[in-house]
């Protein structure tokens, strides 16, 4: 950043969403989120935190303060590799990785995730394939991913892809389960349900919200 952009970084209470923390904390085991003392162990353990726009600790602070927009549109959640190092070392037993997944889900639901970033695109492609076939086929997954994010990458990866093909480690044959209808009926029941409860759902369940 070489040129000063003249941005004003003040936040008014009306910019924030005070119920954001309760929504995230509604996942099973999520209540420990309120106990965060901002020690920074999570960011210190995270092998990817040097690359994140907001470190895991900052994300928790922002969730507690209600910075919904910033958290859900950050790159951080999509850089999380789910290694669970943070969760294991957190002195307050906060389920950080599960919180990261919850923010991923809310970002997708709210369509505010970084659109051409590979991770959410990969997740989406994977999701569609398994919804339909019950299994994922790595070759098609990668092709679809590159086509949607950066088609030129397909050429770069070609060498790797061909080598894998030659070793029998990649095939264009579609993997699928036999009883696709059975899986479809199971997943259909869960179409509209979510583990992260919205503010209205929390209030009607009698839970205390901010």
């Amino acid at each position: 950043m070489n040129k000063w952009q003249g941005w004003r970084k003040i936040r008014y209470e009306s910019d924030l969403d005070p119920h954001f923390v309760d929504e995230i904390a509604s996942i099973p085991g999520g209540e420990t989120l309120y106990s965060c003392i901002q020690c920074g162990t999570c960011s210190g353990m995270c092998p990817i935190s040097p690359y994140m726009d907001y470190t895991p600790r900052q994300i928790i602070a922002m969730i507690r303060a209600g910075f919904r927009g910033e958290v859900l549109s950050s790159y951080t959640t999509w850089l999380c590799a789910s290694c669970y190092s943070c969760t294991v070392e957190c002195p307050k037993d906060i389920k950080l990785t599960d919180i990261m997944y919850a923010t991923k889900r809310l970002a997708i639901r709210g369509k505010v995730y970084p659109k051409r970033f590979p991770t959410p695109v990969l997740a989406g492609e994977f999701f569609k394939a398994v919804e339909k076939y019950g299994r994922s086929t790595e070759s098609w997954l990668l092709v679809n991913l590159f086509m949607k994010t950066n088609p030129f990458k397909v050429f770069r990866q070609m060498g790797l892809g061909l080598r894998l093909f030659s070793q029998g480690r990649l095939s264009l044959k579609r993997e699928s389960i036999k009883r696709r209808g059975e899986l479809k009926s199971i997943l259909k029941v869960l179409e509209k349900e979510h583990m992260v409860k919205s503010k209205d759902e929390l209030v009607s369940a009698g839970k205390e919200v901010a």
């Binding site: 590799a81 789910s82 290694c83 959410p120 398994v130 299994r135 790595e138 029998g168 480690r169 993997e175």
Partner: protein
């Protein structure tokens, strides 16, 4: 005890060698493994990112199918070699047991598919089975080509020991180390045995992911390892398949074989390269094996 084998999508594709060597080795050890009929994908990290309930439902379907396949016997022992599938299934197993509200939702979903889950499943990793279920000397008894002098770095990765440490120590796991020692190899102790390799980022966000894999490869090389063994298909892929790219970016020539622990076992048992998927490698372990044999390794 008989086991139900859950391969997961990777073992039919990039991780094919893992399946081949696993089945071969378990067969040699006389441990029956039968593939789960019509198993579906565990959902990996992708499903958790989009719909956690569907992710749990995917695992639950596998549990229901395993129970059905197991019949009237006590518990279905599901052997899950892929670390990501292992974590996904293990997590689902625990969440379904510990959160009744969630369980009720998933039961409803399973019912729509005509299935039922009765809590009679154990999720096991092959390392767990090998160390805890087999008689102590069974592995040693099969060793025909002991790996004397071979320096091996055991790489566990994340998902086997975090967040659940069901069969091994969370910070300093030893199950793979024990197996390597049983095979006669020399285990190189290193502090990065559970540090993330980058997972899916290594392939798709290479600016970030490659460095994580590079750190592991560089440290293993620095400590004089001839070989890295791993238990996760994505770790194996990341560590093995990008070595030339990594060498280019970091100006550090790295050429170190990365194989599955089952492949190492099979090799020590004297089994053929073909049966162990040892032809499906980017960096051949022949030179490392020769070192152990004090001469030329003959492709068997």
């Amino acid at each position: 005890m008989s086991y139900i084998y859950y391969p997961g999508c990777s073992l039919k594709s990039t991780g094919r060698a893992y399946e081949e060597s696993l089945l071969t080795v378990f067969d040699a050890l006389d441990v029956p493994l039968k593939e789960l009929e019509d198993w579906n994908c565990c959902g990996a990290t992708a499903y958790m990112s989009i719909s956690e309930l569907k992710a749990f439902a995917l695992s639950a379907r596998n549990f229901a199918l395993a129970e059905r396949q197991n019949g009237e016997e006590d518990y279905a022992e599901m052997v899950v070699p892929c670390a990501a599938c292992y974590l996904g299934l293990n997590k689902a197993h625990r969440y379904l047991a510990e959160h009744p509200e969630l369980r009720e939702t998933i039961d409803r979903a399973l019912e729509a598919g005509g299935l039922k889950y009765n809590d009679r499943v154990h999720v096991r990793h092959p390392l767990d089975v090998l160390i805890n279920d087999l008689a102590p000397d069974k592995i040693k008894a099969l060793v025909k080509r002991p790996l004397e002098g071979l320096k091996v770095a055991c790489y566990y990765g994340c998902q086997l020991v975090r967040p659940y440490a069901d069969f091994d120590d969370q910070h300093d796991p030893q199950t793979m180390d024990k197996i390597v020692k049983m095979l006669g190899g020399e285990v190189v102790d290193w502090p990065l045995k559970t540090r993330c390799c980058g997972g899916s980022l290594t392939g798709i966000v290479q600016d970030v992911g490659l460095r994580l894999s590079y750190i592991l490869l560089a440290e293993a090389r620095k400590r004089g390892c001839d070989l890295i063994v791993t238990a996760c298909p994505l770790c194996q892929f990341n560590l093995e398949c990008y070595q030339s790219r990594i060498s280019g970016i970091y100006g550090h020539k790295i050429n170190i074989p990365v194989i599955y622990f089952t492949q190492l076992m099979g090799h020590a048992f004297g089994l053929s390269d073909e049966k162990l998927g040892l032809k499906r490698v980017f960096v051949s372990p022949s030179r490392a094996f020769s070192k152990a044999e004090g001469g030329q390794h003959v492709h068997g």
